[in-house]
C-alpha cells in the first residue's frame, strides 16, 4: 500500500479520535501527531502524562522501572522486592538480562527475593521482617556483594522506615544496602522509577570509592543504559574493545556493584538508553566532569556513525583503529544486507515500544530497505520526542502512550507489513494476520546491538515477515476461487 500523505494521516487521527467522549478526545488529541520536521516536538506531542482511566495503556509502574530495569540486572547484588509477593514473582526473569555467574551462588539475576507481605505486616509494619530477611540472605547467600530494597506500593502507604533498616544492616554486615523508594504509585509510568533508581545510585553507590586508588587508563569508558537483553551489551562491548577502549563498567546488564562504584573514574560515559540513565550521566558530568555521549548500535549505518562519534573523544590511534573495525565488519554487513534486503525491501513497519527503541531501531530497518511509518513511546518524555522527530520520515505517525483501540485502528488503516511492540500486543496483531516481533526482549532472540546483532536482527525480521504461515491464515473455504498456491513461492 502506498504511503499515506500528510492529509490522510491527519484525517486518520481525527477518525480514530471520533469515538471518544469530548473530554477524552481533547486529551488524547495531544498525544497523537503527524511527524513534521519543522515543528518543535513540544508543540507536536504531549508526553509523560497520567494515562486516562478506562483506556488500555501498556505502561508499567515505578517499581518496574527500578527493580525490573535499572537495578535488577546488577547481578552480584540481591534485590529484595519488598512488599507482597506478586510484583516480583510475575516479573521474575522476564527481561532476559543475560549475565555470567552461577545463579544462587555469586549471581542472583533470575531469582526472586521478596518479603512476602501479609496482613499483619501491613498492620504492624514490615521493618522487623525486612531486617530478619536481610540477615537470612547474609546467611544463605554469603557471596552477595550488596542488597537493594525495592519498595512496592504498600511500603510507602504504611510509612515503613526502610532507610533506617538499611543503615543498620550496612553497619552490621559491612555491605552496601540501598533503600529504593520506588513504590509503584509514584509517577505516571515506569519512567519515574528509572529516575528514582538513578537517584538511589547517586546517593548510595556512586561516591563509595571516591578516594580509593584505581588503575586508570586514558581509554576508560562505561557502557550506560545497556541491559544486555539477549546479550546486547556483549555484542557492543567487543566493538569498543576492538577499537582500543577499555570498558570499565556495564550499566546495568551483566554489571556489578564494583563496576558502578568505579564508573566515576572513567573518561567518557557512553549512553545507550537515554531515557533510563541520562540522570546519572548528567550527575557524573556535573560532579566528576565526565562527558557523556549518546550512541546507537542498531544497524551498520548507525553503528559506524556511533563508533566514529565515540572515537572523536579520543586520540588518533583510537580513531585509526575505529576505521579498521568498521572496515573489517563492512563486508560481513554487506553480505547480510545482500541476503536479506531483497526479501525485505519496501516493507513498512510500525513500532510501539519504550526507552530508546522507538527511535534507535529506525536506522536498522532502513539498512534493510524497510521504512518505519509509525512510532511511539510507552513512557517517553519531551526530550525523547525531540530526538525522534529528526529520525522519522515526514508525515509519519507519532503516538504517545497509545491506547489499545488507537493502535488497532491505526494498524487497520496504515496496514504495515510488520509491527514491533510488546507481548501484550503480539497475539492481537498476529490474529489480525500481521507479522509481529516482540521488541522489548527481542522475542526470545538477540542480541540486536552491534554488528553481530544486526545479522540476527535481519534474520529475525525476514523469518517473521516471510514466514509461510501468513499465507495460510484464511481457511480454504473463505479464499477467493483461484487457489493461492503461488503465494508460497
Amino acid at each position: 500500500m502506498a504511503t499515506l500523505t500528510r492529509e490522510e494521516t491527519e484525517a486518520l487521527i481525527q477518525e480514530v479520535l471520533e469515538v471518544y467522549p469530548e473530554k477524552a478526545k481533547k486529551d488524547r488529541a495531544k498525544h497523537l501527531a503527524v511527524n513534521d520536521h519543522e515543528a518543535n516536538a513540544k508543540k507536536c506531542v504531549t508526553s509523560n502524562r497520567k494515562s486516562l482511566p478506562g483506556v488500555m495503556t501498556i505502561r508499567g509502574c515505578a517499581y518496574a522501572g527500578s527493580k525490573g530495569v535499572v537495578w535488577g540486572p546488577i547481578k552480584d547484588m540481591i534485590h529484595i522486592s519488598h512488599g507482597p509477593v506478586g510484583c516480583g514473582q510475575y516479573s521474575r526473569a522476564g527481561r532476559r538480562n543475560y549475565y555470567v555467574g552461577v545463579t544462587g551462588i555469586n549471581a542472583f539475576g533470575e531469582m526472586n527475593f521478596t518479603s512476602d507481605f501479609q496482613e499483619r505486616d501491613i498492620v504492624f509494619g514490615g521493618d522487623k521482617k525486612l531486617a530478619k530477611l536481610i540477615g537470612e540472605i547474609e546467611k544463605l547467600f554469603p557471596l552477595n556483594n550488596g542488597i537493594t530494597i525495592q519498595s512496592e506500593c504498600p511500603i510507602g502507604l504504611i510509612g515503613d522506615d526502610i532507610e533506617a533498616v538499611s543503615k543498620k544492616a550496612t553497619a552490621e554486615f559491612g555491605k552496601t544496602v540501598v533503600p529504593v523508594r520506588c513504590e509503584g504509585f509514584r509517577g505516571v509510568s515506569q519512567s519515574l522509577g528509572h529516575h528514582i533508581a538513578n537517584d538511589a545510585v547517586r546517593d548510595w553507590v556512586i561516591g563509595n570509592r571516591d578516594n580509593k586508588p584505581f588503575e586508570q587508563t586514558a581509554y576508560d569508558v562505561a557502557i550506560i543504559g545497556d541491559y544486555n537483553i539477549g546479550g546486547d551489551a556483549w555484542s557492543s562491548r567487543i566493538l569498543l574493545e576492538e577499537m582500543g577502549l577499555r570498558v570499565v563498567a556495564q550499566w546495568s546488564g551483566d554489571g556489578t556493584l564494583a563496576e558502578m562504584e568505579n564508573t566515576p573514574k572513567v573518561k567518557l560515559n557512553l549512553l545507550h538508553c537515554y531515557r533510563s540513565m541520562n540522570y546519572i550521566s548528567r550527575h557524573m558530568e556535573e560532579k566528576y566532569g565526565i562527558p557523556w555521549v549518546e550512541y546507537n548500535f542498531f544497524g551498520p549505518t548507525k553503528v559506524a556513525e556511533s563508533l566514529r562519534k565515540i572515537a572523536s573523544f579520543f586520540d588518533d590511534s583510537i580513531k585509526a583503529k575505529t576505521e579498521e573495525v568498521i572496515a573489517k565488519y563492512q563486508p560481513m554487513m554487506q553480505a547480510v544486507i545482500d541476503k536479506y534486503k531483497p526479501r525485505l525491501q519496501g516493507k513498512r513497519v510500525m513500532l510501539y515500544v519504550g526507552g530508546l527503541r522507538p527511535r534507535h531501531v529506525i536506522g536498522a530497518y532502513e539498512d534493510l530497505g524497510m521504512e518505519v511509518v509509525g512510532t511511539g513511546y510507552e513512557f517517553g518524555h519531551n526530550d525523547d520526542y525531540e530526538r525522534t522527530v529528526k529520525e522519522m520520515g515526514n508525515a509519519t505517525l507519532l503516538y504517545d502512550d497509545v491506547t489499545g483501540f488507537e493502535f488497532e485502528e491505526f494498524v487497520k488503516k496504515v496496514k504495515p507489513d510488520l509491527i514491533g511492540s510488546g507481548i501484550k500486543e503480539k497475539y492481537i496483531f498476529q490474529k489480525m494476520g500481521i507479522p509481529f516481533r516482540q521488541m522489548h526482549s527481542w522475542d526470545y532472540s538477540g542480541p540486536y546491538h552491534g554488528y553481530d546483532g544486526f545479522a540476527i536482527f535481519a534474520r529475525d525480521m525476514d523469518m517473521t515477515l516471510n514466514n509461510p504461515c501468513w499465507s495460510t491464515l484464511t481457511p480454504p473455504w473463505k479464499k477467493p476461487q483461484a487457489p493461492a498456491l503461488a503465494a508460497a513461492a
Binding site: N40, K42, N48, H195, Y279, R282, E285, E286, G289, V293, H381, N382, D383, E386
Partner: protein
C-alpha cells in the same frame, strides 16, 4: 523556582535542562556571558524565558542553579 542544569550541548550551544519535566532545549541568549559575570535572564529556543542570579565569573559546566520562569505561565 526550580533547579535547572546548564551544560554545553553537542552542537556547542549552551543547553538548558529542567529535571522531572525533562525539558531540554538550547539557550539562544544569556544576559551576562563575560568572564566577570555569568547568568541573568536566558531565552530558550522555544521562546520561554528564565532568570537566575548571575554568578561571579564563568563556571565549570555543567552547573545546577536555581532559576525562575519569567512571563507566561502556561500549563
Amino acid at each position: 523556582m526550580a533547579n535547572i542544569m546548564i551544560r554545553r550541548g553537542d552542537n556547542g550551544a549552551l543547553s538548558f535542562y529542567l529535571p522531572k519535566k525533562d525539558l531540554e532545549d538550547d539557550i539562544v541568549s544569556l544576559e551576562f556571558e563575560t568572564p566577570q559575570r555569568w547568568g541573568g535572564e536566558l531565552v530558550l529556543k522555544d521562546g520561554s524565558r528564565w532568570h537566575f542570579e548571575p554568578l561571579e565569573g564563568e563556571p565549570r559546566l555543567p552547573i545546577t542553579v536555581r532559576a525562575r520562569r519569567l512571563g507566561g505561565e502556561d500549563d
